[in-house]
């Protein structure tokens, strides 16, 4: 029947378009992983090889290089900053949600602006200060700076979760005789656990992928993965190794992304990713 054919055609075309768009966005990722599995010769050939015998030599070289140390730095700094920021920021978030101050709106505005300012504006003076304090090229310096952004993000993001707790629950706890600290600790906090998880993951991702601040503040000791990756370039663009390093680096990030897929909109609206 004519109508039936037309319907199938329309929905078929649509699916084809969806797949096409998906391929456009997925292809570069595939290419990244593919390149990381090629030998030097395979990379530098024309026409580009889509089918080839994969090799792990790039990965082996990366694993044996300074990059792993950089990776460790990245994760260390990200983890410490995240834990610290969540601990501190959640308290404030709860405050803004349940015990607001006069002028809370202004303070919140200031905190969000911090999150969204060009990082260069904050790094510059801090560089000068850290230099004087001999804190350049240290993990501490990075943790401190990243925590500015992470705390700001945490305050905004967690406030939303605290706002969602029905007041009735807290009020009934108070009627039962619990003081405000206990209400926070025993009632509110457990209820926002998924929110805390999501916040943690966003903070981790955002800290891991940061480049400019790390570039400026580190030199040899506290070099993070992003800066370290740039160093592969210095030795004359070694695409195999850069892509292998990148692949190792982004794998956990992709995993994290899948974990927070339900909170993506919220997370992105409150601080995007630089």
């Amino acid at each position: 029947m004519k109508a039936k054919m037309r319907r199938s055609l329309v929905s078929g075309t649509r699916m084809a378009a969806v797949i096409l768009v998906t391929i456009v966005f997925a292809f570069p990722l595939y290419w990244l992983f593919a390149t990381s599995l090629k030998t030097r010769v395979q990379i530098f050939t024309l026409p580009p090889k889509f089918i080839f015998i994969p090799t792990l030599e790039n990965y082996i070289q990366v694993v044996n290089s300074w990059f792993m140390g950089n990776l460790l730095n990245s994760f260390l700094v990200a983890a410490v900053s995240t834990v610290f920021s969540i601990a501190v920021g959640s308290l404030a978030a709860y405050g803004f949600s349940r015990h607001p101050l006069k002028g809370s709106d202004n303070i919140l505005f200031w905190i969000l602006s911090l999150r969204m300012l060009p990082p260069i504006a904050i790094v510059l003076p801090l560089y000068v200060l850290f230099r004087t304090l001999h804190l350049l090229d240290t993990h501490l310096a990075l943790i401190l700076i990243y925590s500015i952004f992470n705390i700001s993000f945490t305050v905004w993001f967690m406030k939303g979760f605290f706002d969602e707790i029905p007041r009735d629950i807290e009020e009934s706890a108070m009627l039962d005789g619990y003081g405000p600290l206990q209400v926070f600790y025993k009632v509110a906090l457990p209820l926002v656990r998924p929110g805390l998880m999501a916040t943690a993951i966003f903070c981790l991702i955002q800290t891991l992928i940061e480049f400019l601040i790390a570039l400026i503040l580190t030199n040899r000791i506290a070099v993070t993965a992003t800066v370290g990756m740039a160093k592969f370039q210095v030795l004359g663009v070694e695409w195999g190794q850069i892509t292998a390093a990148a692949a190792i680096f982004i794998l956990p990030i992709i995993v994290f992304t899948v974990l927070v897929r339900n909170q993506l909109i919220r997370g992105m609206a409150f601080g995007g990713l630089r």
């Binding site: 029947m1 109508a3 039936k4 037309r6 319907r7």
Partner: protein
């Protein structure tokens, strides 16, 4: 104005079968009500006719056209939703005029049609207002107006009255009924409220669990239910069911239910014998067909009053008869006395009004010459 025919229609949601292979004719120009509890498949059927839900199999004819693969906009049907679904960003005039746009009417014609519909539905004062400013009843009328303005072949209504308060609901019932009569448009109305169905329908289709239980006029459904479900669904309070065993003793038939023994009148006994009814049955009797006596009378059975609900001119009395319970509806004046809780009372069944159901199949056993 067209008739709608459903042939072997099956609607599934994943593995769940919502509508199970039904066949139905919805007559031209008639007001058909699809009635049933939630999940019975009535809304799924309605949406399949509209094209909003794709059936798993089956054919749908609107008039002479097979519409299975046509998009909803090509079927020339209109639908009024439970939530009215008015366009919130447009005023009432635009809401009504919106569907006329693509039909390329001139501006004057559009105005004329909108004004006509607005007048008919008493909306002409509100044409400049926005949906949020209108009351439920008014929004309801706009939804109806929007459906009617393009003169569709079929009008579909999905529980349109359920959001209205009791008074408004009564008003709108009469309104819709009259409207349909005036316009003579094939109308299909879905509801779970059986009083609504009784009031509105030329024909009622009772559904349960994806299957059609019975179709007929409100009278037929009420007086001649085909099975236990239909009998129990229609009527308020619902029909009483007394399960039991037919038992012959000394030439008389009794219905025995653990402790109680109901002596069946000779008339009823004769009919049961004629039909060869033996063993377990379910006796059905409506609350208004039970007689109450303050003291023992011929053929009456003793019971205890558990609850009394006064309703206007009647009492709804709950009786505890040890092994089963009954709800009785009795006119206050006819009763003659004030029923008290825990009071002992005797009841008898108007047996000409009793129904007999097969325990296994739940179908009603037709007792000849029922007459009503």
């Amino acid at each position: 104005m067209v008739e709608v025919r459903l042939k072997n229609l099956t609607v599934k949601y994943g593995e769940v079968v919502a509508v199970n292979n039904i066949n139905l004719v919805l007559e031209d120009r008639k007001f058909t009500v699809m009635l049933g509890p939630s999940g019975c498949g009535k809304t799924s059927t309605l949406r399949s006719i509209a094209g909003l839900t794709r059936p798993a199999s089956g054919d749908i004819y609107i008039g002479e056209r097979l519409v299975n693969d046509l998009y909803p906009s090509e079927r020339n049907v209109a639908m009024v939703f439970q939530s009215y679904a008015l366009y919130p960003h447009m005023n009432i005039f635009d809401n009504l005029a919106f569907c006329l746009r693509p039909l390329k009417h001139s501006k004057g014609e559009v105005e004329r049609k909108v004004n006509d519909v607005a007048k008919r539905l008493h909306l002409h004062e509100f044409l400049g207002r926005y949906p949020a400013e209108l009351s439920s009843g008014q929004q309801q009328r706009v939804a109806i107006g929007r459906a009617l303005i393009r003169e569709p072949a079929v009008l579909l209504l999905d529980e349109p009255l359920s959001q209205l308060d009791a008074v408004l609901r009564e008003e709108m019932k009469m309104y819709i009924k009259k409207l349909q009569e005036d316009l003579a448009i094939t109308t299909i109305h879905v509801t779970h409220d059986q009083t609504e169905a009784q009031a509105l329908g030329d024909k009622i289709v009772v559904m349960d669990q994806g299957a059609i239980q019975q179709t007929g006029t409100p009278q037929e459904i009420y007086n001649s239910p085909l099975n236990l479900f239909v009998a129990g669904f229609i009527g308020n309070p619902p029909m009483n069911f007394i399960p039991g065993k037919v038992y012959r003793e000394k030439g008389e038939l009794f219905l025995v239910n653990t402790k109680a023994r109901i002596h069946l009148s000779s008339k009823l006994s004769k009919k049961l014998e004629e039909k060869g009814v033996v063993g377990e049955i379910i006796l059905g009797i409506r609350p208004e067909h039970i007689l109450l006596f303050p003291t023992a009378a011929a053929n009456s059975i003793r019971a205890r009053i558990v609850e009394v609900l006064p309703q206007n001119d009647e009492f709804i009395i709950h009786l505890d008869c040890t092994s089963f319970s009954l709800k009785v509806r009795e006119d206050k004046k006819i009763l003659g006395f004030r029923p008290q809780i825990d009071q002992e009372i005797w009841f008898a069944l108007s047996e000409e009004k009793a129904y007999v159901f097969d325990k296994e199949t739940t179908a009603r056993i037709e007792l000849s010459s029922r007459g009503d």
